[in-house]
């Protein structure tokens, strides 16, 4: 397999990246590439320009901000997994990131990339939503904050404009008690369904076109999950009920 043709750009500063993103048509930002490269290999994505931000220096910090954890665009999932700061301030994030694929994938994959990719079955968007976090989007026009409940618009769709990139994700400190539970066919696969609990808040993933907030007393209300070879819609609803019960049993 081979990605379709594209023009490759490797900016070394954020300003350069933003001005390229503003001037190029049909450009995609390449960070960890653990979702984008498979899409290219399968030719499900055919961007005309690929903007590789891996050579932008100093964009990989994981630090404490406003009582929560900020992860910059090149903060790898493995670094978040290993971070003592994350374990102390937002253990929910530390636990969730371990459910993302496998360590070898997490060595490259980024937290911000998972959020921008917005796969409805992935863990981190649901964690951001359950915690009420946000992302900072930057473009040549400036910066803006997009709250989690405004970010996810549909399957692989976000509120990001075509000239914007996520430069930072912010996760509030995780309250007690918290939990993230999911069911998948194989360890490291995308979840058939999953739940994130942050104290009284509940977010679900894998059961809609975006992660969704739900009420624990009637978690499946209004859900219309899709069915596929791995799980019927009814089975997904069943998983939501069981996992919600487990998450709130603790």
């Amino acid at each position: 397999m081979k990605p379709p043709p594209f023009e490759y750009h490797a900016p070394t500063t954020l300003d350069e990246a933003c001005s390229l993103l503003a001037s190029l048509e049909e450009a995609k930002v390449l960070a960890g590439g653990q979702s984008l490269i498979p899409l290219l290999n399968f030719r499900l994505a055919r961007p005309r320009h690929l903007l590789d931000i891996n050579r932008v220096a100093g964009l990989d910090r994981i630090y404490e901000r406003d009582g929560g954890i900020a992860v910059e665009a090149l903060g790898r999932q493995a670094a978040v997994e290993d971070s003592d700061l994350v374990a102390r301030v937002c253990p929910l994030l530390g636990e969730a990131v371990r459910l993302v694929a496998h360590r070898v994938i997490r060595n490259r994959g980024t937290v911000c990339g998972s959020l921008a990719h917005a796969d409805p079955a992935s863990e981190l968007p649901a964690v951001l939503l359950a915690l009420g976090g946000h992302v900072i989007a930057q473009s040549a026009r400036g910066k803006r904050t997009i709250a989690a409940d405004q970010l996810f618009r549909g399957v692989f769709e976000t509120a990001l404009e075509t000239d914007e990139m996520v430069v930072e994700a912010w996760f509030p400190a995780s309250p007690q008690p918290f939990a993230i539970l999911e069911e998948s066919r194989r360890h490291g696969d995308f979840a058939l369904a999953g739940v994130v609990r942050a104290d009284t808040r509940l977010a679900l993933f894998g059961v809609g076109s975006t992660p969704v907030l739900a009420d624990r007393s009637d978690a499946t209300r209004g859900l219309q999950p899709s069915g596929d070879l791995e799980a019927t819609p009814d089975f997904r609803l069943h998983l939501v009920r069981v996992l919600t019960e487990k998450a709130f049993a603790a």
Partner: protein, 150 residues
Amino acid sequence: MKVNEVEYPAPADARRLLSDHLRHDLGLTGTHVGCEHGVCGCCTVLLDGNPVRSCLMLAVQAEGHELTTVEGLARSGAPLHPVQQAFHETHGLQCGFCTPGFVMSVVGLLAQHPQPTAQQIEEGIAGNLCRCTGYASIRRAVTRAVELSK
């Protein structure tokens, strides 16, 4: 980029995957290519010491970095790397297609956890698929590699 401590010229084509670059351009066919979308783990190599999927990277992204492939673990004629020796001793392979990926993942695992728990071993090899062995002998290989690495 440096591969197994040898400096190579930059890849000519930006769309060349690192896995294909290693095999087709550099002739390092020890890195195997299975699924080409990051699921099977056969193409795992070390990038600056950390295991990564070479099918999920463009070769141009490895410019300025150091790569280790399975060929770099032990020179021809030299004793095997402890992880290779362990796979050999415990029959951690049958057809061998997945083996280079497993070996590189386990090298990465032992660098991260020199004394891995049973769960860390399971997690460490969970990203690699083997259709022959049923994994029991591969788990034994990891345990043996820990002993041989002492």
